[in-house]
């Protein structure tokens, strides 16, 4: 049985020291009727060679298709250095830095992370990470409810342009505290949230307005107007942003007259591989005034007994291990290693590099949309600028196209009708800096071929073409 170092002699000597005859005897305080007779349903152990082979086969099964899906997870280049460094044992196998003096590596790194995240968002402070973008938004909502002193409302304005899975997650995580999410519909022409849509809520009170940028459709929202509306109506403004987009887009701290109060989002685009959806990390930044309402760990700079600078966990009085039932959140373990990866990733890219990544994403998305809308019957759904992704309407059911392209190892995009029934036959497509001309052209050609076939004269209703799908 792997990983247990005890020799027979060790066991014997140790049992003697303890004063019992067998290992089993150490369990004598467990009521006998409870003792289970082992784990017979489990299969026999595999050595590393055997499990390695199995996992290689399984990884190969999932393939390495060309991926034009975004919808909250983005396929960026990650420098090799990032994961070679964060998987170093000293980062990888350390616990949360409770013993600050023995954890300066992690602590300084988190302090650098906080600096980068705060600055990227144009806000004062950042925490050390939350689970993911969706749960970070839930925490931001809870935080806004606690923090909003003007308005004791437990209602939140939540635009329909916020990622549907985020809205669901927020609902799960806040509803037991009696918090209500009020949906704000989007403009079907522009695919964005209009200040006009908020008008009908003018007389109600809200703890916060959530503002996504870019929104789920890739569309840019009028963040200044929305932020100002929130503040004018006693609500906090919560930004949900894409950190790569922030290299190009105005940071939340500068939105409107006073800036958004809290910003959060999915950190995955900063160095985390797609990995089927996790581990990623949620980031959160806010104005200094709200720092004591922030959930999660925070690292501060201090001095040691000889006056040298050092780093330590601070503001722990917000946290569950000190405050227990009065903590700002129940979060304990967060996504430290991913935040570390993001820090190294950002250090390797620098401001110029990140800007170029954002620029390339933008340019490639433009090229993708242009190419695909050249295909007969494919149309762009919403007008106006986008980042990273755009909504297209296809002349045939989306699922058929997704399946047919999947068979060619091209992942076509995210189908929208389940979340937005009004967007039948619509697909959200995405490009990053990894999608060059050739990739886009390949997608375009495949799509042409598939649609042609499905449009054939004999075929008024769509059927899967034989053989290929």
């Amino acid at each position: 049985m792997p990983f247990i170092p005890h020799t027979e002699a060790d066991v014997k000597a140790m049992l003697e020291t303890v004063g019992v005859d067998t290992v089993e005897a150490l369990f004598d305080e467990i009521p006998a009727e409870l003792r289970s007779d082992g784990l017979n349903e489990l299969s026999a152990g595999l050595n590393e060679m055997e499990i390695g082979r199995l996992m290689q086969e399984r990884a190969a099964e999932d393939g390495l298709p060309a991926c034009f899906i975004g919808a909250g997870a983005y396929d960026h280049h990650v420098p090799a250095a990032v994961w070679e460094i964060v998987t170093r044992g000293e980062f990888y196998s350390a616990y949360t830095p409770y013993q600050a003096e023995a954890s300066q590596g992690t602590l300084q790194l988190v302090y650098e992370y906080q600096t980068m995240i705060a600055s990227l968002n144009g806000l004062d402070v950042s925490n050390a990470s939350l689970y993911d973008g969706a749960s970070a938004l839930a925490e931001a909502v809870l935080m806004a409810v606690r923090a909003n002193r003007k308005d004791k409302s437990r209602r939140i304005l939540m635009p329909a342009t916020v990622h549907p899975a985020y809205r669901q997650t927020v609902h799960t995580l806040v509803r037991n505290q009696g918090i209500e999410l009020v949906e704000v519909p989007y403009c079907t022409g522009s695919g964005s949230t209009l200040v006009e849509a908020l008008r009908r809520h003018e007389r109600d009170t809200f703890a916060a307005l959530v503002i996504p940028q870019p929104n789920f459709f890739g569309r840019l929202e009028e963040v200044d107007a929305l932020t100002d509306w929130a503040h004018a109506h006693g609500a906090l403004a919560i930004a949900v942003v894409n950190p790569v987009a922030l290299a190009l887009l105005k940071p939340p701290g500068e939105w409107g007259d006073k800036g958004a109060d809290i910003a959060c989002g999915e950190g995955q685009p900063l160095g985390a591989p797609l990995a089927s959806g996790g581990p990623y990390f949620g980031f959160m930044a806010c104005k200094q005034a709200y720092v004591r309402q922030m959930p999660g760990r925070v690292v501060g700079k201090t001095l040691d007994s000889e006056g040298r600078p050092g780093f330590t966990l601070t503001l722990q009085a917000r946290e569950q291990h000190i405050r227990r039932s009065k903590a700002t959140s129940n979060i304990c373990t967060n996504q430290g290693l991913l935040a570390a990866a993001a820090t190294i990733h950002m250090a390797l890219l620098g401001p110029q590099g990140l800007e170029r990544v954002a620029g390339a994403c933008h340019a490639n998305t433009g090229a993708l949309v242009e190419r695909l809308t050249q295909v007969e019957g494919v149309q762009r759904v919403f007008e106006g600028p986008v980042f990273h992704e755009a909504v297209l309407r296809l002349p045939v059911p989306v699922d058929t196209v997704i399946r047919a392209l999947g068979a060619q190892d091209v992942l076509a995009g995210y189908p929208l009708a389940e979340d937005y029934p009004e967007l039948e036959n619509c697909i959200l497509v995405c490009a990053t800096e990894k999608h060059g001309e050739a990739d886009i052209e390949e997608y375009g050609r495949h799509l042409e071929r598939i649609l042609d076939r499905n449009r054939g004269p004999a075929c008024t209703k769509l059927r899967p073409p034989e053989g290929t799908i």
Partner: protein, 486 residues
């Protein structure tokens, strides 16, 4: 030196940047960023050197003994890391079609669900919670959903023993409950009489871990289960301590209705200096409809995702996708490597190590608050005598241990034992390492007697001396700011 202090304006790491493209003119000016963020401008070598050197300032399992109680700092197999990072797994988009581009990873997840059910003795599993605390949330939210589904809406309280981990009461509150604390009796078990007094129609459930965080197995667990169940409440098991009982006793057999597991403890996924972890939940049949989505099912032909549409009673989703799959893959690899025999040995050797360490420390004259109890996978030691006699606190011992090349145990938790250490050696440490720990503790005690200053001013051999936590909290400095140009 901070990475920002190595930055030079205009320095640029071309290997990691795509070619420049024309400016994004289609984005209106008022939506564009004007000032670049404070990211460092360093070369690749500078970044690599900086973070490599930073890493060397950490203690970790890979470099030191790390007997942090309640955290199960066992060896994280390098093989699990390598397998979970295979390109096919890393490159897969969460929305890649399950049928054509997902059967590999889903097979692993499905089998992991099955294994977790088996080791806990429960009926159904969802892997989606992203850490222990989120698993707790899922568990208590399910308890709430169950009561709600039955129209039993008067239940407003969750019971939590005073020894419980802080996440337990915090979670109960996040689920909209009031928390009621249950005291511990003198032997370290839950005070059953006190429990009896407080249960009632307002009781939604109880959150327990067994063995408790005092490192003892609650012998009256069946009685507790009966009391709570009879009052109409449900039992939630905090699985952070599952390492103590793997293969010896199953939470399902103890009467629990829902269990969360910390795979970053029991299943040896790395803690990464603060995460990520994963906190799968397993439940008895009656709670199955409420499990958080998504889960993985096998329909006889292929693996597929189970979503809210077919689980209308689900408490819903806890993340944008399906939780920390990369962590779950590491747990899967670990579980498959151990297999039946390996899994059954975990608790035995974790317990042997803890009892051996406790016996040796006791023989050295250290005091145990529950001297007549068996240690489980961990145990509590109190330094209140040393604090009183020599003026050397548990904190001082902890810091001085670092000088001896050992990570300190968890200190000052559980809160009810004064000047305590919660010590968890885990099964992957050798006897020699345990002996070295005993030697260090004894040496520090001698120092405390002969030369307390060296202990109270420790550590002396680390990159920094003892840090001023009070200053950190008072003069908040949470991010670096460029020096104002002089």
């Amino acid at each position: 030196m901070l990475i920002f202090e190595q930055s030079q304006s205009g320095r640029f790491n071309r290997a990691q940047a795509p070619a420049e493209v024309p400016p994004a003119d289609d984005i209106p000016a008022h939506l564009r960023r004007k000032k670049r963020p404070t990211l460092p401008e360093v070369s690749e070598l500078q970044a690599v050197r900086h973070y490599t050197r930073l890493s060397q300032k950490n203690f970790s399992i890979d470099t030191q003994f790390y007997p942090l109680g309640s955290c199960t700092m066992k060896y994280n197999p390098r093989g699990a890391n390598a397998q979970a990072m295979l390109p096919g797994f890393l490159g897969r988009h969460p929305h890649a079609p399950a049928s054509s581009h997902g059967q590999g990873v889903m097979a692993c997840l499905f089998e992991l669900q099955e294994m977790l059910k088996q080791v806990t003795g429960m009926a159904a599993c969802s892997l989606t919670p992203m850490a222990g605390a989120q698993g707790e949330f899922a568990g208590v939210a399910m308890i709430r959903a169950w009561h709600d589904a039955r129209g039993d809406e008067a239940r407003s309280e969750i019971l939590v023993p005073d020894a419980a981990h802080g996440t337990n009461p915090a979670t109960a509150v996040m689920c909209g409950y009031k928390v009621r604390e249950i005291p511990t009796d003198v032997s370290g078990d839950v005070d059953v009489e006190a429990l009896r007094e407080v249960v009632g129609p307002q009781t939604a459930g109880i959150m327990l871990t067994n063995p408790s965080t005092l490192g003892v197995f609650d012998r009256r667990i069946l009685e507790i289960a009966k009391i709570v169940h009879e009052a109409g409440g449900l039992l939630y098991y905090d699985g952070a301590n599952l390492n103590a009982i793997l293969g010896k006793v199953k939470p399902g057999d103890m009467g629990f209705d829902v269990v969360h597991l910390n795979v970053h403890k029991t299943f040896s996924t790395p803690h990464g200096g603060g995460g990520p972890g994963a906190g799968p939940v397993v439940v008895s049949e009656r709670l199955e409809p409420f499990l958080p989505v998504p889960m993985v099912d096998h329909d006889g032909r292929e693996y597929r995702w189970v979503t809210e549409s077919e689980r209308p009673q689900s408490i819903g989703r806890l993340s944008a996708f399906m939780g920390n799959i990369g962590v779950l893959l590491r747990a899967y690899v670990y579980a498959r490597m151990l297999g039946r025999e390996g899994m059954e040995r975990v608790a035995g050797f974790a317990t042997l190590n803890a009892n051996y360490l406790m016996a040796r420390l006791q023989a050295e004259g250290f005091e145990m608050p529950f001297p007549d109890r068996r240690a489980t996978h961990e145990f509590v030691l109190t330094l209140k005598q040393e604090a009183k006699t020599y003026g050397v606190s548990a904190m001082d011992f902890a810091k001085r241990l670092l000088d001896y090349g050992q990570h300190a145990p968890t200190a000052y938790f559980p809160l009810l034992v004064p000047e305590c250490f919660l010590i968890e050696p885990t099964e992957t440490e050798s006897r020699e390492t345990l002996d070295a720990f005993v030697a260090a503790m004894a040496a520090i005690r001698d120092e405390a007697r002969d030369n307390p200053e060296i202990v109270t001013s420790a550590p002396h051999t680390l990159p920094v001396k003892r840090l001023d936590d009070v200053k950190a909290a008072r003069e908040l400095n949470l991010s670096w700011k460029p020096e104002p140009a002089a």
